[in-house]
């Protein structure tokens, strides 16, 4: 519990700090490219857990599930807020984005959603370390709901 609360708090702090410390060194085009890269990589790792734990279409492998959970947790805590700098609310160069412009007026809400995601990915790591498939299913659903909560509010269809 402490761990997940800490992860959430850390995410909020890193996100806040990142927005000022990193924004100047990465171009708006690269910020969009990198945040899309992070989400794509998360999606791939969610897919692995879905296949092995939910759909059971692929044999369960604790090592792979733990690696996937750690990747999700690390990216969720990696300060993606730094990739939503000024000028990244619309397409830049070749980089299209589905972000809704109103996200940029609601950073406190986004930080809260981000902390929720980090709390959920922390539970996913705990469940993977414990090799507890019931807990994995619960945590997977919670991570998915955290993704969806932000998409519903701040991503265009």
């Amino acid at each position: 519990m402490f761990r997940t609360v800490l992860a959430g708090a850390l995410a909020a702090v890193v996100m806040g700090a990142g927005m000022t410390a990193q924004a100047e060194v990465v171009s708006p085009e690269d910020q969009i490219k990198l945040r899309k890269a992070g989400y794509s990589y998360m999606s791939w790792n969610m897919g692995k857990i879905k296949a092995q734990v939910i759909d059971q279409s692929v044999a369960y492998d604790q090592g792979q599930i733990l690696a996937a959970a750690r990747t999700l947790d690390a990216i969720a805590n990696s300060g993606m807020g730094a990739l939503y700098g000024p000028g990244t609310d619309r397409q830049v160069g070749a980089q299209q984005t589905r972000v809704k412009p109103e996200m940029f007026d609601n950073f406190p809400d986004v930080a809260q959603l981000s902390a929720g995601l980090a709390a959920a990915t922390g539970k996913l790591v705990d469940a993977a370390e414990a090799d507890d498939r019931a807990a994995l299913r619960t945590a997977f659903a919670e991570v998915g709901q955290s993704c969806k909560a932000c998409h519903d509010k701040y991503r265009q269809r």
Copy 2:
């Protein structure tokens, strides 16, 4: 030491297992997209450590450095070998790749290079957790050398 050896061994195992377990569910085009996403995200996180620890052009923040190190370590251990399936040795659809085709004839060597990377990112996490900047510089250099070792052999210019 045990931790980094274990991380390396795990990377090799996950990589090997991933190649058979995951290859069928992700299209060749998406495999290329996803591996490029993973490397881009690693590059961004290397850049944060470089700015704060090597160049010192951005104020040092242990929380950010630890988050970056954990992201690098998680991606290095995420079974990227699964993203080098059949048909991904050349451009597929919109996804270009700089991989040299001979990489696909040398998977044991690639697994060794991958284990070297995971050992180095493990040391980076250890150094970040210890808040030890000298150890961070050493580990950062080792991660960079691991990246370069693979690029020199298997990436086109």
